[in-house]
Every structure is written in C-alpha cells, then in structure tokens.
C-alpha cells in the first residue's frame, strides 16, 4: 500500500499531456486510477512519473455523429451505465458497464483507462469486439483509428505506441433488428470476468443475418468465437441451433487456468454463457 516515489504531472489539455509524455518517456498515463494505482501500491508497477489526464475536459462526454457514437476516453463506467444516449444507440455498453466492479469502482474507473490497461479479464473488450468499435489514439505523429480487433494485442498490451493517448472510442449505432447481451461469470473475489461473453445478432425475416460473439476473461486477450458466429449465420436463432453452435466451439487450448477455474472449465463456461447471451440477444432482436 506504499508505492515507490514518482513524479506527478497534471495535464489540463490533450496537447499538454502529449508534450509531458514526450518529455517523460518513462511516464504512465493516469486516468481513473483503478488499474494503475493498485499495481503501484503493490509495487508491481513503479513508473518514475505519472501524467494525470483525468481533468482534460475534451476527453469527456458522449456524442453521436451520423451512424457512430463517440465516447470520450475519460467517460466513467457509471456514466456509460446510466447514459440515456448509449441506452438508445448502443445498449450493450450500459449492460456491460453495470457489471464492472462495484459502484465505487464504476464512479472512478474510466472506459479509456480500462481499455488501455487491457486486463484480460476486463469486461469491455468482449463488447468492443462484437460492436466493431474503433479506438482513436493521438500521439506525436498525429491521430489514428485502431479497430478493436487490432487494439487488444495481448495480456496488458495494446496497440498504443509510447507517447500515444487513447482519446475516444467510436462505436457504430446498433441498427434495427439487432439484439445484444452480455453474460458474465464473475470471480467471487475480484469480480473480474472468469468468462464474459458479449453477443450481438442481427435478425431479418426470422433468420440470423449476422452473429458476433466476443469472449473476455477466458484467454490472455479477448477474442471472437468465429466458429459460433459462422454456425449461426443464415439460420433461425432457435434454442437447439444455438445450443449446437456453442457446443465445443471453444476448446481449452490457449485458455487461462488458475486455482478458481481451469482451462477446461473456462471452455465449458464459454459455451454456457455464449448460449445464454445469444438467447437473450435473439429475444431482443425479435
């Protein structure tokens, strides 16, 4: 509970934050502090400096442009959970945010902070994959959009380059005939996802046009369960169909294993939670 000494810089604009990062290449970016600070207190992370971006107004807020919802990186989980705009345009995200941690965590932790930290058991990554979200990164070389598929590189690793800051998340608005759901099996201590499954389905004329299934917690990084997605495309979303599609769709190879849940058990949970998520998503699409 006693971090090593570090320098602290507070930026009030994005430009200031970028120049601070340039001056202090060893610095870590601090947003809500709910991932980084615990690591520092345990001395598992000892950055020489922190650049606090928590007060940069331009990184906050939720707005819509055409078919996309733009969410500022500093938007708290609580704001995602209760956002009327998101409930209307992308209700999967409030459903996910409501299951993160507890109210105290949700009031402080931020969407961008969670994504940039890339904990393999975080809740958002599964949703970002199935929503087809993109992350806007701003760095010394300008800004770029990184699709979710490319953003999550591995355990605690993203495509963000040194000196870059995640500023926005762009999420396509969910269209008509689309159903969504997030099913989470929380670890009883950490409340992180042992396995979390996000599903989005688009149904036309009683037939599934597209199914997307994203899984977090199970592996070193979130992934799409493409076998399930392919098995459902073009078919009516009946329980038996879904049941058959998820059965053994995710094997234990490459999955995480710990005293609470082995890779085999995680693989089994992937199937159970995928079925439950798809059934709820299908009902919502109907």
């Amino acid at each position: 509970m006693y971090p090593a000494a570090f320098d602290y810089y507070r930026a009030t604009t994005l430009q200031e934050a970028l120049s601070l990062l340039k001056q202090h290449p060893e610095a870590k970016v601090l947003a809500g502090g709910h991932s980084l600070i615990p690591l520092m207190k345990l001395r598992l992370a000892s950055p020489s400096a922190l650049v606090d971006i928590g007060r940069i107004a331009e990184l906050k807020g939720i707005r819509r442009t055409d078919g996309t919802v733009v969410i500022g990186a500093l938007t708290t989980h609580r704001e995602v959970e209760f956002s009327e705009a998101l409930k209307q345009w992308c209700p999967l995200l409030p459903e996910v945010a409501a299951q993160i941690g507890d109210p105290a965590v949700r009031n402080m932790g931020t969407l961008g902070g969670s994504l940039a930290h890339a904990d393999p058991a975080a809740d958002y990554p599964a949703a970002m994959l199935v929503l087809g979200a993109s992350m806007k990164a701003v760095g010394p070389g300008g800004e770029r959009m990184i699709p979710a598929e490319a953003f999550f590189v591995g355990m605690l690793t993203t495509a963000l380059q040194p000196g870059e800051i995640l500023t926005e998340v762009h999420v396509p608005v969910l269209g008509p005939g689309t159903g969504w759901a997030y099913e989470k099996f929380p670890h009883p201590a950490s409340r992180y996802a042992v396995v979390g499954v996000a599903a989005v389905v688009r149904v036309e004329g009683g037939v599934c046009r597209e199914a997307r299934v994203g899984i977090t917690g199970a592996a070193p990084k979130a992934f799409r369960a493409t076998a399930i997605e392919q098995a459902l495309a073009g078919r009516p979303l009946e329980e038996a169909t879904i049941r058959a599609a998820v059965e053994k769709a995710v094997g234990p190879e490459g999955l995480l294993s710990d005293p609470f849940a082995s890779a085999e058990y995680r693989a089994h949970l992937c199937a159970v939670l995928a079925r439950r998520a798809l059934l709820r998503a299908a009902r919502r699409a109907a």
Binding site: L42, F185, P259, F260
Partner: protein, 784 residues
C-alpha cells in the same frame, strides 16, 4: 429490578462514532517524533539464512535503524510463548524475527525503522538476505509422510502432539455391533481471517520513568502485556502499559501475541523514539494467524432403530510453522470435546495429531474448533440419514439429548448446562415450512432444477471455564473475568471491564445491564475497556465469553455496590437495612415509597461521609472476579435452502433460517447482528474461502483479488428467531451469541448443497464448494 433496558433492541451507542469516522484506531494515533517500521519478510517457505546485508538500507536517506533477529536475540529477547501446553507437546522456539532459518512465507527477517512509512518500505527492499532455499511442505498429511522436510529439529516427524479424548475401546465395541456405519473423509480448509482493520502496533519508551506504552490491536490487552513482559521482552509487568483502542474486527486473529508488537516495543527503546507499524493487507494474509485446516476421517455407527451407537474421529490438524498463542487448544479441547453435538452418543473416540508445516501459524478463528466439530457431526448426521433413507430432521430428532436429561454429561468431558434441542428444531422447521419445501423440492427436481435443503443442529461451548479445570487441561491462564464498577459522587457510573470490544457492542450491552441494576439512565453509564492503565485486569474477548463471564462479573460488582448503598440509604432514612427497598433508582422504607433517597443522594453521601453509617468506609466502588462454574452451551438449528446451477456448478442460497438459543438476550439487535455476521462467515467457508498453497508452500491466495470473502450479494435476507433456555449457573442467564452463526452455517450450507446434488449420487465434496468443483463432480457423475 425493573428491566427498562435488558432485552431491548437498542441501537448501539458506539455506532455514531464509528459511522461518522470518529473512531480511534491504532493507525490514527501519532506521537511527537514518531518513526515507522517496515518488516522485511521471507519470500521462501523454508530456507536457511546465510547472511543479511543491511548496509544499503541503513544508508538510505531517512532510515533510522535496521535490526535483524540476531540483534533481538543477542539483546536477550526470548521466544514468543505458547499459552496452552499439552502433555508431551513439542515447543520449538519462535523468535519475533527469524535467526537461522525461515519457516513460512512472510516470516520476518529484519525490520527497517525510518522517518516515514514510504522510506521504510523503500529501504526494506534494499535489505539483502542470502537465503539457501530448502524443501517445504504445506499440507499436514504430506508433512507426516516419511522423508517429509522437517519444520523443526525438535520435531523431526513434524508431529507437535498426539492427543485423544473419549473411550477408544468402548467405541470399537460400538462399531462391532453396529447395524449400519457411514464414513466421511472431510477437509476443513484453512481460512484467513481478514479483519477489516489490519493489525497495528505503536510503542513508546519513556527513559525518565523506564516505562513503555504499547498501543496495539488486541482482543486482550492484559494478556498481551503479561506474555510480552514476562516471557518475551523481560520488561517488568508494571512498567508496560498496553492500550487497545477502537479495534476494527478480530475474529480471534487479534488474541495472539505476534512478532510485530514485540519488535516495535523493543525497537522503541533502541531508537529512542516511538515506532509504529500497520500491516498492509498482503502482510495480513501471510502473518495473521490462520484458522481451521483439518483433515478428518469420521465414522458414525447406528443400531437397527437408527439410534447412534458410536462416533470415531481421527483428525490431522495443521498448526503451521510455529505454535501461535493458543494453537494447541483449538483442535483439542475446543474441538474433540464438542463431538457429541446435540446427540446422545454412548461412545466417542477422537484422536488428533497436531502437525507442523511450512505455513503461517494456525490458531483460533471465529468458532475456533467448534465449527470444525459441528461440521464433522452434522455432515455425518446427514450422510447417515441418507444411508438409512430417513428424513434428516427426523433422524436428528430421534437422537437428540432430551430436555429432561440436563445437566447432561457427554462422553467427551463436557457437561451441558441446559438445552431444548427439539424446541429450536421445531421452530426452524416451522419457519421454513419444511414439509411443503420438501414437496416443492421434488417438483422442481422433475423440472431439472436442483434445490437442496440443509440442516445444522449445533452446540456451542462458550465462556470456557472454570479456571481450575482449564488449568488442569493445559491452559496457562485463568479464564475468569473482572469488573471494576466505580460510582462517582454524582451517581454516574464508570465500569472498567476486562473484556474488550472490537465489534461486539459492549458499550451498549453492558450499559444496559448496569442501568437496569441501578435504575439509572443508560446515559449515566460509561463502559471502559482496553487499557491496562485503567482496567485492573482482564482476560479479554474471545470464545463468546464477554456476556456470560464479563457481564456476570459486572453484576457481582453491582451487587456489592447496591449492598453498600443500601447501608448508606438505611442510615439516611433512619431505618433498618433489611427494611430498605431499592427500586427504580430510589431507596425507601418498605411500604413508604413516598419518602425516599435517590441514587444520586446516596452516591453523594458515600463521598461526603458527613451523615454516614459508623464504621463504613467512604466511597462507592467495587471490583469482582467472576469465575464461572462451567462453560455455557448455546445451541440451535439453522436451515439453508440452496439451488445449484447444474450447468455452471454455481450455488445460490435461496433462504436461510436461523433459530439460536443463547439464553436470555441482552440486546436483540446486537444479537441479530452477531448472527448475521456469523452466518456470512460460515457461508464464506462453505462456498468461497480457502487458503491455497502451492507445492513450494507459497500462498497463492494472498490478496482480496484471489481470496473470496462473502459479500452482501452472496447472501440472502436471513430469517432469524430464537428460543430462550437460560443458563442456569450465571447471574444473567445468558449464553454467548458471537460465534453461533459461524458454527452452524458452514454445515448447513454444505448439507444443503449435498442434498441438491443427491440425484447425481454425489455424497460429499470438500469446501469451498466452488462452481468448478461442483461442475466437475456432476460431469464425473454423469459419465459414470
């Protein structure tokens, strides 16, 4: 005595201070010139210390001193003592800091004292310890195998003691003529207490008076003082003052004398400045004494009518690397003696092997031996009922000790004072609507839903006593309690109790007793505890002893005070003492209630002594030392209703009914709170908690990210009631309520889960009943 307070569900008087953040905990305290200690702890479970290099740490800016175990031992510091000795027990030394070897992860090898805690932690990382890692063993069964690494040279086979109780021969005979027997292999897993306030200690040495003051998170400051002064540090007892201010939970873990408080007390004199240490949560995980950790083979035998003939129990108890203060008592006299449960069992035999391992020491944790005993008995009762095809409630009922057999002598030493077990069972069955529930269970099973109903009919022994008996069993302390009651000239009252409150609400419950006895408003009563400088002596709070033992001591003192006050009142009223009535805070001559002297007038006269009985000493205070005649034995029935999700293995508790009998209840609100917390901890053991060590005896579950404590959303709304069977041998008729929930709940929940899983042919799974474990068992059952 008019009871205006006793039995009333008053809100706790101490809570506004706690809720508003105005409590004073050890870590809140500061002193001029305060320094901060950081402990250097072993990363190895077993290693030889080849060298400790402290130069870099000493030279670090802001560091005042660095000490090692050798520094302490060379200055004459002795081993931490063990407060309960069993015949033939091995008692290897336990120095506050390791000297030659480390024997568990987290054992202290050096201490850094610095100007602030951050600097101390920085410098602690600069202490270089050369270790030669040695093989380690965490599992008690493995520690007993030939060739297992020995924890201590004094015990090459890792056996600390072998202890038995009951009649082995008679039990063998009972099993020979048994109609049916069942056998269970039970692992009662290791738990880590996790009081919300971590342990802390701050010590000051005054060279002018040669006196020490230690502020410490202690459940028993006088015991702390006695053991530290007389055994470890060699400080004259009267030169060490121990203060335990507000303490945020203990659950047993703050009973014991730990290395850290001896280190800071010793170091305070060495550095000439006060020293403070507060555990980080990670330190709590590896250094607070753990609880439970039994491996048990248990068998039950019945005759043709389903009446119990005998119980045979063999337990291996993991004691950890060193003997914590009361470690030997927990798996023996607080466990084996409880194995009769609520039942007439003609023959019981229990053998316990206490084993050293390379793990954190194990000692009392809420319930301390009694939950382990209840778990053994109640799991066997369920298993046997199923074996016989009998309803588990009716099988228990048939074997209860009937109400007319009290006091009841069990075959395992204890004599139960009073009980009406069927009364509590019936009430619980009624509350849960048992018959209808069984019918619904059948119906839901047909729909593929797995509901389970689990009973736990428990017995608790609390207020461990009398001193002469516990002394003969190995206790190195008396187990009476003291109370000094001081009446001030204005009639206000201060009570100095030898018990200690760290969540129990004594400032309210004890004041309720006093206010009623003296007929004064509760606001006129102050309860003081936790300071050896003001409380004469005390044994502290654990084992649900405070109300039956500490409360009784207060009553004895109040009786003495009332006797003296009556003498003074008789003089003032010019009446014979035996004609004076004391009622509602007024003294009057029998039949003339209009002519009275108030409590305040009498108290004032005790200090003025102007108009005073000849020969009577002035002043109005009394102290008492109450040594109970016996333990007292709360009991009850808890019923859990659970649903198991057969797909994920996850357990949900649907309902939880608790009927407890703790005799007369002083404050039902506090009693209910105790039951709630106790159930939560019992559920925690059944479903969530468990220390996990790897093959190198590294603690894997060493943070709250891994170690699952129960939370509100893991629990249903409890349905709670009680029956009242007063304790016949203490003046209040009270029993203890602090541990009943923990003692009962674990078995109730496990029995419920096993009931839910019965259709799969699953008879037993070890705790914690995690989803994965249940899922695997269902998979295996389906494959079979």
């Amino acid at each position: 005595m008019a009871t205006r307070y006793f039995g009333v569900a008053m809100k706790r008087r101490e809570d506004p201070r706690f809720i508003a953040g105005r409590g004073t905990y050890v870590d809140d305290l500061t002193l001029p010139g305060l320094t901060y200690a950081a402990m250097v702890r072993s990363p190895y479970a077993h290693a030889r210390i080849k060298a400790i290099h402290t130069d870099k740490a000493r030279q670090h800016p802001g560091v005042i001193a660095v000490f090692t175990g050798r520094d302490m031992v060379e200055s004459g510091v002795k081993s931490l003592p063990c407060g309960w000795l069993l015949p033939g027990m091995k008692l290897p030394p336990h120095y506050p800091m390791a000297v030659d070897k480390v024997r568990h992860v987290g054992e202290i090898v050096a201490v850094v004292i610095a100007e602030d805690r951050y600097v101390a932690e920085d410098a602690a990382a600069l202490v270089e310890v050369e270790y030669e890692p040695l093989p380690a063993v965490a599992d008690a069964e493995k520690a007993l195998q030939p060739g297992a690494p020995a924890v201590h040279d004094e015990a090459p086979d890792n056996v600390c003691f072998r202890w038995s109780i009951g009649d082995a021969e008679k039990t063998e005979e009972a099993f020979r003529r048994a109609h049916r027997t069942v056998r269970l292999h039970l692992v009662n897993q290791r738990l880590i207490p996790n009081a919300i306030e971590p342990r802390a200690a701050m010590a000051q040495y005054n060279p002018a008076t040669d006196e020490y003051t230690l502020w410490v998170t202690s459940q028993n400051p006088h015991v702390h003082r006695l053991l530290m002064a007389a055994f470890v540090l060699g400080i004259p007892e009267h030169k060490l003052r121990v203060i335990s201010p507000d303490v945020g939970g203990g659950f047993g873990s703050k009973i014991f004398v730990y290395p850290e408080e001896t280190i800071v007390t010793w170091a305070a004199k060495r550095v000439g400045r006060p020293v403070k240490w507060t555990a980080r949560r990670r330190e709590s995980f590896v250094s607070d004494a753990h609880g439970r950790d039994h491996i048990t083979e248990a068998e039950l035998a019945v005759d043709e009518r389903g009446k119990i003939l005998g119980l045979r129990v063999r337990t291996i108890a993991n004691l950890g690397a060193y003997l914590s203060t009361f470690a030997p008592a927990i798996p023996t006299y607080l466990y084996g003696t409880l194995l009769s449960g609520q039942y007439e069992i003609p023959a019981i035999s229990c053998e316990v092997t206490g084993v050293f391992t390379h793990t954190t020491p194990v000692d009392a944790y809420r319930g301390a031996g009694r939950p382990e005993a209840t778990y053994v008995v109640e799991r066997l009762m369920d298993r046997m009922a199923r074996e016989l095809g009998e309803d588990p409630a009716e099988f228990r009922r048939k074997n209860f000790i009937p109400p007319d057999k009290f006091p009841y002598q069990t075959p395992v030493a204890l004599q139960y004072d009073s009980g009406n077990y069927e009364g509590a069972l019936n009430k619980a069955l009624e509350m849960i609507n048992y018959k209808e529930l069984r019918r619904q269970q059948e119906e839901l099973r047909r729909q593929g839903r797995y509901i389970g109903i689990g009973l736990s009919c428990y017995i608790e022994a609390c207020g461990i006593a009398p001193s002469q008996v516990v002394g003969s069993l190995g206790a190195q302390a008396g187990l009476w309690e003291s109370a000094l009651v001081r009446v001030h000239p204005t009639g206000k009252v201060t009570v100095y109790t030898g018990t200690h409150a760290h969540g129990q609400g004594h400032e309210t419950a004890f004041a309720q007793i006093v206010a009623d006895e003296l007929g004064i408003p509760i606001e006129d009563v102050e309860i003081v505890h936790g300071d050896t400088g003001s409380v004469p002596f005390g044994m502290g709070t654990y084992g649900s002893r405070s109300a039956p033992v500490g409360g009784s001591a207060i009553v004895l003192s109040l009786q003495k005070i009332k006797e003296k006050a009556r003498k003074i009142a008789a003089h003032l009223l010019e009446a014979a003492e035996e004609d004076v009535v004391f009622e509602d805070g007024k003294f009057y001559v029998r039949g003339v209630p209009d002519r009275f002297k108030t409590w305040g007038e009498v108290a004032l006269q005790a200090y003025l002594a102007h108009n005073y009985p000849p020969g009577l000493e002035p002043g109005l205070e009394a102290s008492s030392f109450y040594d109970p005649k016996n333990f007292t034995f709360p009991f009850g029935t808890h019923i859990a209703v659970v649903e198991v999700d057969p797909e994920t293995g996850k357990v949900k508790i649907l309902r939880y009914v608790a009927v407890d009998d703790a005799g007369r209840i002083i404050n039902p609100l506090i009693a209910e709170g105790q039951v709630h917390g106790g159930i939560a901890q019992g559920v925690g053991q059944a479903l969530l908690e468990g220390a996990v060590y790897d093959e190198n005896a590294q603690l894997l579950s060493a943070s709250l990210l891994d170690y699952a404590l129960p939370r509100a959303d893991d629990l249903p709304a409890f349905e709670i009631d009680h029956t009242v069977t007063p304790c016949p041998h203490n003046p209040l008729g009270v029993k203890g309520i602090g541990e009943t929930g923990t003692i009962a709940a674990t078995a109730a929940v496990v029995n419920a889960v096993m009931d839910a899983l019965a259709p799969f042919g699953i008879h037993h799974l070890d705790m914690p009943l995690t989803p994965q474990k249940i899922w695997k068992a269902i998979q295996a059952a389906r494959a079979a």
